[in-house]
Symmetry: C3
Subunit: 678 residues, 3 copies
């Protein structure tokens, strides 16, 4: 998709007010006031679009689409498969899921249909095709929003059959499956594929290969269901781009497997800004943004966010003044081409009636939320020239979903919490604290073009990835690994031999044991180099490694492994391979990455005060630096912006949660390969 | 019922000792020693009363009833439906419940029959009628105790049908239901009543209207079952009064809906005296007593209490010496005409064998419990003249069960705990700390006759109640509301427009937003008036309101809403309407109510030391002040009792957990409309 | 079994590497290096031994058994019933369990077959017989290891029938059952045995007699299943001894009921050495060892232990250097004739792939674990002369499994935790801290030969045991009881009369009430004797007793029972009966037992520094004192070892986690009935 402006708007569910046409007119008036240019329609409209089997009623929708468009507001049109009508479940019970305890679900909720059901595929394809036929050519429609937040699994007999077929396709013979799953352990040998049942708390949960393949199957089958919907749209002649809205921190699906089928990535962003601090949460949200962008290495859409608060968290804090702006500009800074809300107008009843909305139950435009949302809309217009620009990263972290699954499925060494994602976040935070753009990749990604890659806890080393690491370092890259790396293959079968498997020469170390600490325990880290001058601690996981070539930069300060390596560095080819044997604290990561990046060419670091963030978007002839203040205090910009083009903002210190956008033309004098900001 | 003495005794289950007739004689001897005049029989006797279908064996019971009566001990006779015989469940499995996961229950436990089952209704009616025929005319029998602690729900197909009929009756058309439930959200439109299923974790839980109506149906159907039992008694000629024993802090049924069918209210009182402090728990128990009394604005019965300890709490602390007296006299102080225990004699086996009893497993009358119970019995005889007197309140708090359900069912703003009942308790404590009698009402109640009403968190504003508030204030009443008031109608559909709905002119404020704090957070409250001189805090919920006429008396001390109102006051008609925007601490409530009540005519305040309670019962020609010491320390009476008639006690300071009862004749000189106590 | 050396080795599952014969050769080489002389084979081999119904394939196993034996390594051969093959469950679904919610299990996991199923009994008997026929005569086979870690229950219709038959056999008539279970309470009278259903969260859980008898039935039926396996072996001509491997702290089975059928006891020992301190955990593990030894009062086998870490605990800490030695020698010190590991070689996949193994995934003999395991093997050879010696105790504690069940099943006085096992441990620790051997008995045991017996919380006083206590004290024994003793009979029916039932004259006290404290509360204990000089506290449970003859040695320091007895002593016959009314702290126990044992003849106390343990094993002509250091600090031996024969070790202080073994010939001069160590 090409973007010449930022899309601004959100989910709109006018079918709730069909009997009150004045609401639509009021909404249009308010949307214009708030600078809205796009809304999403139809997400949960099936009951209205097909009130009884085969009878489509699209007129009401078309009227709304057109009326909006007349007022300059485009539509993203959803397919309605996220929640089926009652009659469909009544007539075809097969569309309802069976849970892992083999209990048949009753109608209710949403996002809970059997992905395998031929009937559900047929019925969704039919209405999708009808919608495509009626709406795709409408100039108001920008994009197809396929279904809503795909997720969950179904254990019905049809899904069991599909799972067996999936396994047969993957393994060919049952012997191959037995070997891959090491089912000889506990005498769990399968005699045939017919014996395979999905994991269940009433049955098998002790075969990790089964657990992993089930998760892969669920991703496969969900994607197949999505393809069925997209195919229906295309076969009916639709030419507009397609997306699905993904979820934050969602671990049931391997989203990256969906990317190739989509024209653009979009996702739903719900940070808990006030659970810790906005600055901390900003890193977490930022890493999600970057993961979404990295899937296609292209701009994406923030399809949902709340304009004020959620209603599903334990405690729904409202955002302080300015935080909505901060949240919205952060999306853009990381590569989003949109700021969308769930939701435009709050429903008066139902599960989410207390979820934030631009227009609350009073219907007033005099609310703080409406005012702040209007300011966001106007801000997006001010930075319009950034639309369509790219985010280019020379550093990356690896966060691999199948590795996440494998770590979670395995028992030991720390069932109380391995904290894989949190550990990746430590590297991410350190890099971003230096002002660097960071990509978030998985093991399927290419490492070409990166200067530095950090890949913590790469427990599952999939075929080929060790070679990529080897080549990357050989050719001059800097690679950082940690404890719990290179233990198992893609079916969670451990490698026989030294660990990290196939990489001991690259890192110059060998793992021997791993100690898991209780939550109340820690170890000290003693630095052997003035580059790491702090007093550091480590917690949770302490690996014992012996060196075979690497230089030791830091060691344990206590326990029987006092003096054994915590950090090593190894020269391999033209590059460097670092190995962190323990779960060290944020300070250690920060000091380490600060030191490492000093030696790296081709990346630019900025010394940022705490809570200040910078992202760089790159256009046709200029870089744009988006500085954001994630604190409630005024914060000074670390560069002299007076010498630069100010696209947005223009006063230092930045106001709480405020931003400044600078334009740095490619033509500007360079220093060390980069435009000289000072 | 007329009471000329207090009923004293408790549950007695002699069917456990039918083979040991000497036990009965021993019990009678001990009952007399303990001043017992009434026992409850038959609560769990069905297996003995109808050992096989249709064969009634009542002789053993009649013998016991008569033998007790010969010794001056009356009987409250229970219908046996609380626990059915084994043969009944075997022959008619329909009497067993189906749970919300649609699992059929197996025989066991108690209080778990299907309330809809025609068979269960028929069988209970038959035995009830037989009991009535045999026992109602017996002068020994004072009262019918219908079933036992009704509760729970059943999701069997019969109950589903009854639920659908209930909805059809309520809504008429399915469109009306869809509108009321806002089922358009998430496309959950019902096409017909046949599609409705009760809420289930396997199905629908996201429609609040469904959740609320299911709870209403369960109340309706349980009451209908109760009516079926009462009708059976009456049709068989019974003329004695009927009651059911309600439970403390029980939120599954809306008990007030049962009141009209009952001749007298009774309930089971099990405070946790030593979980916090007896003084604190005294307020909680007191509010329950007052809620029970307020249902019919008439004296009630405390049908159960423990003479020593329970066995179902996490930790069963025993009462300290004097606390049994305190608990028993508290009941009387709040309007009870009885002190009854569960149980007279401890069972030797079964679920409750370690529950406290007047006669423990040793069978001795030399135990501390027996001695203290005897003293209670003798104390009740000393204050006999209070029997039949009334409790008259000029202040009230609103605690509405449907509002409780609605707050619990809705998601947001604080799923971690909205604490409705606890919030009502704050008002209650403040009023009672000033020596005021307090009624506990719901939204169906009339506000006539009250001087001051506090109604915290009246989230669900049912039709008509806003008008009652308006009229109450208009006519000179003082009304206190808080945050989270007036948001939704009786089906939990939010009002479109300003909040509190229909009352913004009464309070002179409008709600704009609500912030939910994490458990570890608080805000400060800054007072703008010398009437509130303390340093106060608020927690959990902070509403942001703007005034439209009200005077601001206190404001937030921090966060971005620093300076916005926490407490406002508005003159409306002849009265005052206060609005508390945040969940302030006890001290704030105390100071606020202390100030407010200074301006109110027609109520009498007493300056009470901490832990001292006073309740007033009113007889034909005198008031009775019951002072009670809820602390383990000696506490001085704040009035000069030497000038008054002492009915019980007579020395100040009061002993730990002790009491004094004073008689104030109407003829006594008055001061400010009240008898002059000083 | 006769032992002339300690068995050393562990579980070996070579069926996982059948395709890689070089692994076996490598293992043999490494086993020899590690001094291994015995391995356990076949635990989970059924799929390999009978790949399809009736087709046995034993050749691969025989080859391994023989190859090992050629290299000096014997085999313990398991029957394979711990995990069934897939085909067996497919063809005969009855072998799969039904859980307490009556849900049918799906194939998966292990240890989860229906013990009643005739088919499972037939199939296991058949393969057991075939194994016996093929392997019993093989000189390589030392022992039959029947199944693996029996446990769990099944609620299928067959098991219900078997349960009813069990009850009919026990009670004869349904009236007798009703009386024993006091089912008159709550009207739960059974009309016939056909009505009995096993306890279920969907049905009956409120009848303690039912709950207890179900647990007894599960023990009975599991034992019956085990007998079926043993019978199959014997009928096929097997003459080698049989064992089953029991589990630590396992409360689902009453293991002592299995002892008579076994030739030797064995168990699986998995201490959490680093959750608190090794010294503390050492007492817990020691008590388990002693309980196992006491079942047959004979040496036993430690059938499993981990050489490094587990993978199923919340946090898997690795053992510090020396701790493997400590764990292994502790087993021997308490009477084990073996040190076995789960497992020799780590599996590459499956549930336990991260469980510790002597040979880890690297396959190397250069690991710390392998080195330490070799040192253990060599250490066991050094102390070979201790093999076959006995552990003789003159003191005992009672820990009765049925009493454990009864305390857990009853509601009140402290549902939050009665802590029976932990309370027994307090006595155990005090006695062991004085260097005394301690037996761990249940109520079925004889008390003959003991000088001192401590029996805390003997809530369930089974028929005959009161008489044993009476005779024991009468004849000069010292008996210590605590609160919550002697309340109920074996069906959890409370005794009518004074408590402790039948023993008030022995103890000279009567219980009156029991108070349960909240977790944050405590009471003080005031000593009335200089023998108890400390400042003590008590928590959780405080009983109120009145004396009828006993001397009071300590009293409560606060609450209304201040001054009432905490500790009493009563002279009865030639002995002394102590009664502890409250859950006092460890210091109190230590000081009390220190004082008590001063007056006891025939036992030897040693003054031990904290963390040092001593156990005595007795051979044909000498005692062996095994001193062990359970701390990470050097610790001095409290005896002059230079005058004694040193069997192992020989330097004081002991190294961290180290040991010294001394030989004290019977011929050595005695002092006070014992060899003079000084």
């Amino acid at each position: 998709m090409d973007f010449t402006e930022f899309l601004y708007g959100g989910d709109y569910n006018p079918e709730q007010w069909l009997g009150e046409p004045e609401i639509l007119e009021k909404d249009i008036e308010m949307m214009k006031k708030a600078h809205v240019n796009t809304v999403t329609l139809g997400v949960f409209s099936w009951s209205f679009l097909e009130p009884e089997e085969g009878r489509y009623e699209f007129d009401w929708l078309e009227k709304i689409v057109n009326r909006l468009y007349e007022n300059g507001i485009s539509t993203i049109l959803a397919t309605p498969s996220g929640a089926r009508p009652h009659w469909l479940a009544d007539k075809y019970p097969e569309v309802l899921r069976v849970n892992e305890k083999r209990e048949k679900m009753i109608f209710g909720g949403r996002h809970n249909h059997c992905f395998t059901s031929p009937v559900y595929r047929e019925k969704t394809a039919a209405i999708d095709a009808a919608l495509a036929g009626r709406f795709d050519a409408n100039p108001a429609v920008r994009l197809w929003h396929v279904s809503n937040e795909y997720g969950g699994d179904c254990h019905c007999p049809r899904c069991q059959e599909a799972f067996r077929a999936f396994l047969k396709e993957k393994y060919g013979t049952i012997d191959a499956l037995n070997k891959a799953w090491n089912s000889a352990f506990w005498s769990h040998i399968y005699d045939s594929f017919d014996q395979v049942e999905s994991p269940s708390s009433l049955g098998e949960e002790s075969i990790m290969g089964l657990v992993l393949d089930w998760k892969r199957f669920v991703t496969y089958e969900t994607r197949d269901f999505m393809r069925n919907e997209i195919r229906a749209l295309r076969d009916a002649g639709a030419v507009k781009p397609c997306t699905i809205n993904m979820m934050q921190h969602f671990k049931d699906l391997d989203y990256r497997k969906f990317a190739a089928d989509l024209d653009i990535i979009s996702w739903d962003n719900y940070p808990s800004w006030l659970e810790t601090t906005p600055a901390d949460e900003g890193f977490r949200a930022g890493m999600q943004h970057d993961m979404m962008r990295s899937m296609k290495k292209a701009p994406f859409l923030m399809m949902e966010s709340t304009p004020s608060m959620t209603n599903w968290q334990d405690v729904s804090r409202i955002m302080k003044p300015g935080m909505l702006f901060m949240q919205s500009f952060q999306a853009v800074a990381h590569g989003s081409e949109s700021v969308f809300y769930f939701q435009w107008r709050a429903s008066l009843g139902g599960d989410e009636k207390f979820h934030g909305a631009v227009v609350d139950h009073t219907g007033s435009d005099q609310t703080r939320v409406f005012r702040e949302a209007s300011e966001v809309g106007s801000g997006l217009e001010e930075i319009k020239e950034l639309a369509g620009t790219q985010v280019v990263s020379r550093t990356a972290v690896i966060y691999d979903m199948e590795n996440e699954w494998a770590i979670a499925a395995s028992r030991g060494p720390r069932n109380q919490g391995m904290h894989y994602e949190e550990t990746v976040l430590k590297s991410y935070k350190a890099l971003r604290s230096m002002g660097l753009n960071v990509d978030v990749l998985d093991e399927d990604a290419s490492l070409d073009g990166y200067k530095l890659v950090s890949a913590p806890m790469l427990y599952m080393l999939k075929e080929g990835f060790a070679d990529k690491i080897r080549a990357f370092v050989q050719n001059g890259g800097i690679f950082i690994s940690t404890y719990h790396t290179g233990l198992a293959d893609e079916n969670d079968k451990c490698f026989a031999g030294t660990v990290p498997n196939g990489l001991t020469d690259v890192f110059g170390i060998e793992r021997t044991e791993i100690d898991a600490l209780n939550d109340w325990e820690e170890n000290k880290v003693s630095s052997l180099t003035s580059d790491l001058p702090g007093r550091y601690t480590c917690t949770e996981l302490c690996e014992l490694v012996r060196t075979c070539g690497a230089e030791v930069l830091a060691v344990y300060g206590s326990d029987f492994y006092k003096g054994m390596p915590v950090l090593t560095r190894n020269r391999f080819g033209k590059g460097w391979a670092y190995y962190l044997a323990a779960n060290v604290d944020d300070e250690f990561y920060y000091d380490l990455f600060d030191k490492i990046t000093r030696t790296v060419g081709g990346i630019r670091k900025i010394k940022l005060p705490a809570g200040l963030s910078v992202m760089t978007r790159t256009g046709a002839d200029a870089d744009y630096l988006i500085f954001q203040n994630f604190t409630g205090e005024e914060t000074y910009l670390p560069v002299d912006y007076n010498k630069l083009d100010v696209v947005y903002g223009g006063a230092s210190p930045l106001t709480p949660y405020g931003a400044m956008v600078l334009r740095v033309p490619f033509s500007r004098p360079k220093k060390g390969g980069f435009p000289n900001l000072s």
